[in-house]
Amino acid sequence: NEEIPRLPGETRVTDKDVIYMCPFNGPVKGRVYITNYRLYLRSVETDPVVVLNVPLGVISRIEKMGGASSRGENSYGLDITCKDMRNLRFALKQEGHSRRDIFEVLTKHAFPQSHNLPFFAFANEEKFSENGWMVYNPMCEYRRQGLPNERWRVTFINEHYGLCDTYPSLLVVPYNATDDDLKKVAAFRSRNRIPVLSWIHPENQAVIMRCSQPLVGMSGKRNKDDERYLDIIREANGQISKLTIYDARPNVNAVANKATGGGYESEDAYPNAELFFLDIHNIHVMRESLKKLKDIVYPNVEESHWLSSLESTHWLEHIKLVLTGAIQVADKVSSGRSSVLVHCSDGWDRTAQLTSLAMLMLDSYYRTIEGFEVLVQKEWISFGHKFASRIGHGDKNHADADRSPIFLQYIDCVWQMSKQFPTAFEFNEQFLITILDHLYSCRFGTFLYNSESVREKEVSQATKTLSLWSLINSEKSKFTNPFYTKELNRALYPVASMRHLELWVNYYIRWNPRIRQQQPNPVEQRYMELLALRDDYMRRLEELQITNNSKIPNSSASSASPSQMMSHVQTHF
């Protein structure tokens, strides 16, 4: 009966009177509506109306609070933990089975994977003017980079994911390495993730390669094919310097990995390579760090010792290390003296962060809306960042140790860069926040599943789901930074100093009404107004010139004097 927003394909499941325990302003009476996509709450008897609009995908955990015998008002109900830095609490009446029903419905639709149900993405019937699945075509992207060329070739060895089931089907490798070589190398790299090309510098031909750790083990095994393969890579940029290997892990962890068969490239085995550790911590450390961050910002912002509390979460420190690592990679490549190989343990978390950030620093194409979509599609989605495991899409197991905010951390790094260089990116903050919102929402197929092979085997994704980029590219102006100034081939190095790193308040603390978000940003708004004014003046000037040229007297009647109209543009000159 009442209007609630619904997407095409979204169906209503149930609704119920509840009390929303707003953490900021106390209990609010309302009605909650549950569909197969969202939880929607509208308050009653309040002015203005309180609204909650939560895609079920962001729910990480649903708990019952209080029992049938609990006393005290509002102590009986549901407690919902979300992946996007907030918790929701609803109080219910104790009579009947009111809570059991809503709990079951919510659990079923929030965790479809645990109930053998499909994601909402498969039911979504939205229509967009743009097709986001067309944004990324690996062949086109490599061609844009000038590949293949006489030193680098495209191989289809992984067409059916036979070489490596977590890699994309299309790979770029040194021209001088045969497919046979690749197979031998695969045996020596964790999960067969061999070194392949991510990016090539258009001028000096130095490259960024990515892979997983070598399977050195306790005994310090060596593999001639791997050693030779790395040497081929080293030589491919036409320089005779060493190959630089960045191991994203802290030194001790890399050593510890030997115990389970992994390890790193030793100097003895790889005399032509230089190895550096970047000291970035593992997924568990990052998960704990974000948890601590949530503790100090939700629901209340820690007041008395904000700065030391923030420091104790280490969140910005991790950001600093990731950025520092990426700067090193980018600087090495752009100095042209050496190609770079990046890996961590498996090469799908820290490695993806480093390569894609370095590429963002070096290649201005990735700083456009479409370029960034390509970058995410390529370095993250196609190269097997395990979105399903890291986010836990539709999975009820909230304590799964595989979950970790690696992609969020990456987007935060991008935000830090855009904050430091406000004219260098075509996209705005809203673009990044939208990506993060749909990282969890399960409304689009973009971030579902762990790898390309799964996506292709289990579903033919492009035909059954929609792409997030369809939504974004259909209303690009909403996501465009008006200050963007196109600059080609300019390396952009952020300063990875705590003095410049900031907590992304508009994302992490956005639910708190006390934290002011000036929307629209007054600086941006002013600029837009000036732009509109300029365009209008240009149009009218043109008109005037036409009128004057045709020598029609009495042209002054056409419009008000422009100087009158300028009275609110400040003059400083």
């Binding site: 302003n25 609204v51 509002n74 704990e288 629901p299 200050f483 929307q519 600086v523 209008d536 400083h572």
Partner: protein
């Protein structure tokens, strides 16, 4: 003019503070009665003039008052230099109050020259001196002051100025300007003219040298007034304190009866940090930005947030802002007068009363309004600039950076609400630098009385007439018009005057587009819902707080503050109305422009807020040139190609430290942290774990 060379040294080597390397230039180091200056040997070749140049103080000039600390380096060890020296250092490091750091190598300088320059610099910048020896006086007697016309700043040194201010704020019904202090009959701390409630008699003002008398600062639109009072010192003698108490009671009685509003008193010395606390905090804070080299920079970076917090400076800013909001709440919402009490009423009172006015009176957010406010509350108001800045090195214990504290608090507001201010953060930064430029009288006296007695110059034999000092508000003394443009905020949303032409809205559509207040978006539902109504709901229908999810709402006075603060923040901002700062932890920031501007490691080539500001300025120029062209077309004049010279050439590559850093020293190398990681001891288990524990050696077999 008036500058005398005191000593000099040749072949001094000045390091360029850019990297760890020992690059630098040779030149001559001189010390005058005005400044310490390094003269580059090949300075002539420098045609890359900085665009934002100070006409008085060059890049390598340090006024004597700007010197903070001088260190000598002996065998790689740093030692603070004060007073007499037995040994002379091989390297001299000068830390400035505007946070510049200079490194001079004296190894190649003749020994006697080293002796002379080092002891000269230390003597002239670090030892106590007489007021009359300030460069201010030599300058004023040597340079004929021909800045005839007054600028728009109200100086508050005449009765007229006070009357005008009363009229402007409509305070003249209940308050009057008095001449009781002519000839400083009442007190040397008070200005010649000031304003008191009409019912206060001249005798009572004279009774305790002006102590115990409420002095008017400002009147709110609803008639409530902000007052200040200098309190009686603690008296041992019972009789005296009885008398004082009786006197105060009398005063309170007269001014809390109608027509006066309810009176609230605020004893600032008990509710705010002491001057000592403020000084200690600032001393620690500034140390974080006086950085010797890159290693230093990255070493302090690791623990940056806790270092910042341990200085307590940001917390002090927060407390002052909060106090100012509390005062504003009393005035605005409770409609009561607020009487600020402090022993001298010239320190904490100045900060709070100025802040309250900046928040409540949009006139104080214009340039001339702000300058008049500083005149009213600080300069004429009797803030002891000379002692608080320790310009004469007489008593270190008197030093306290209260004016800087105000500027930093105002900066917080400027960065939170850019369109509300006519001036920029650059304005605040150069104003803070001007504290140390002894050619302006503004910040070099303790009181109006002190200035007057020293100006008329009874004992001056060399000069006949009284001195004519410059005021800092004449910005043309320091900056060319082009540089002055950077002090004005292009985002400032000028107040719309009810002008006839604007009623024809259809024809003047663009005016509406340009004026920010009119294009404010409606309050979003998300924000709007946190209104008082919900409070009502909580109390009446649903009761009870639950768990940790409800913000603590215990005591009443705190609550009314919170309610005021929250309800203001739930509405869209009117840039010309009341302006309350956000004081949550993440909202109080480091004034990066002032504190980071000389640190090359903190530089973002082509980045920072200046990048967007430059784009706005460029676009404004474009619009203006279009306007000129259109006017020409209108008048059918022959179209000359009017090329406006862009002020910020190559704006895309400005340094984020613009306008203070030089642009040409751009290295392509990114800044890389040199020391980065500290142990995560508390999370040892997690750290050691692998991402996903899979025994890879198993795969091999």
């Amino acid at each position: 003019p008036g500058e005398l060379l005191l000593c000099e040294a040749n072949t001094v080597y000045k390091y360029i503070q850019e990297d760890g390397s020992n690059r630098g230039t040779y030149g001559k180091l001189i010390c005058t009665n005005f400044k310490i200056s390094f003269l580059d040997e090949d300075s002539a070749s420098d045609d890359n003039e900085p665009q934002f140049k100070n006409k008085i103080i060059g890049e390598n000039d340090i006024t004597l008052q700007c010197v903070d600390q001088i260190y000598g380096v002996y065998d790689e060890k740093k030692k603070l230099l004060t007073g007499q020296l037995r040994k002379y250092p091989e390297k001299l490091i000068i830390y400035c109050k505007d946070l510049r750091v200079f490194h001079f190598c004296l190894r190649y300088t003749k020994e006697e020259e080293v002796k002379r320059i080092v002891s000269g610099i230390v003597h002239h910048s670090q030892t106590p001196k007489l007021l009359k020896r300030l460069f201010l006086f030599s300058y004023a007697s040597a340079a004929p002051n021909n800045t005839g016309g007054r600028n728009q700043t109200v100086m508050f040194d005449t009765l007229e100025d006070w009357r005008d201010e009363l009229e402007r704020t409509k305070g003249n019904v209940k308050y009057k300007a008095v001449v009781t202090n002519e000839g400083y009959r009442v007190s040397e701390k008070l200005p010649l003219y000031f304003v008191v409630p009409i019912c206060v008699s001249e005798e009572s003002i004279l009774k305790f040298q002006g102590r115990g008398i409420p002095i008017w600062c400002w009147s709110c639109h609803n008639g409530a007034a902000l007052l200040k009072m200098s309190a009686f010192p603690k008296e041992q003698d019972d009789n005296t304190s009885q008398m004082q108490k009786a006197f105060l009671d009398g005063i309170y009685r007269t001014i809390s009866n109608p027509p006066y509003e309810l009176l609230k008193t605020e004893d600032l010395s008990s509710s705010l940090p002491s001057l000592q606390d403020i000084q200690t905090a600032y001393t620690r804070f500034k140390q974080l930005f006086l950085i010797d080299n890159s290693t230093d920079f990255w070493a302090t970076d690791v623990k940056w947030f806790s270092l910042l917090e341990s200085t307590n400076w940001l917390e002090i800013i927060r407390r002052f802002l909060k106090k100012a909001i509390e005062v504003a709440e009393c005035l605005e919402r409770q409609n009561s007068n607020v009487l600020l009490i402090e022993e001298s009423a010239t320190d904490l009172c100045c900060v709070i009363s100025s802040l309250v006015q900046v928040m409540m009176d949009s006139y104080s957010r214009t340039k001339s309004g702000f300058q008049s406010l500083i005149q009213k509350e600080w300069v004429t108001g009797g803030h002891s600039f000379l002692d608080r800045c320790n310009h004469l090195h007489k008593n270190d214990k008197e030093e306290a950076p209260l004016f800087l504290l105000l500027l930093d608090c105002v900066w917080q507001l400027v960065q939170q609400y850019p369109p509300a201010f006519e001036f920029t953060e650059t304005y605040l930064t150069v104003l803070s630098d001007s504290l140390y430029v002894p050619i302006f009288s503004t910040f070099f006296f303790n009181s109006q009385h002190q200035k007057d007695t020293n100006t008329t110059g009874e004992s001056l034999k060399t000069q006949s007439g009284p001195f004519k000092f410059l005021t800092v508000w004449d910005w043309s003394v320091q900056f060319e018009p082009k540089a002055q443009a950077l002090l004005s905020n292009p985002l400032y949303a000028e107040k719309l005057k009810p002008d006839k032409s604007q009623r024809k809205t259809t024809r003047f559509k663009h005016q509406r587009q340009l004026s920010l207040p009119l294009t404010q978006t409606k309050s979003s539902p998300k924000r709007g819902f946190f209104r008082e109504e919900t409070d009502h709901l909580i109390k009446n229908i649903l009761g009870k707080r639950i768990g940790k999810f409800i913000i603590n709402s215990s005591d009443e006075p705190h609550n009314s503050f919170k309610e005021f603060y929250d309800s203001w923040h739930s509405k869209p901002v009117d840039y010309h109305g009341l302006l309350l700062p956000s004081i949550d932890g993440p909202e109080i920031k480091v004034w990066a422009q002032r504190y980071l501007r000389w640190i090359p490691e903190a530089q973002l080539p082509g980045g920072g807020t200046i990048a967007t500001a430059a784009k706005i300025l460029d676009l404004m120029e474009e619009v203006q040139s279009l306007q000129v062209k259109m006017d020409e077309e209108h008048s059918q004049a022959i179209s000359r190609d009017v090329q406006a010279v862009p002020m910020l050439r190559n704006s895309a590559r400005l340094s984020s430290l613009f306008p203070f850093a030089l642009l040409q020293r751009q290295s392509i190398k990114p800044a890389l942290p040199t020391s980065t990681w500290k142990d995560l001891e508390d999370e040892d288990d997690l750290v050691k774990r692998d991402d996903e524990f899979v025994d890879l050696s198993g795969d091999m077999s």
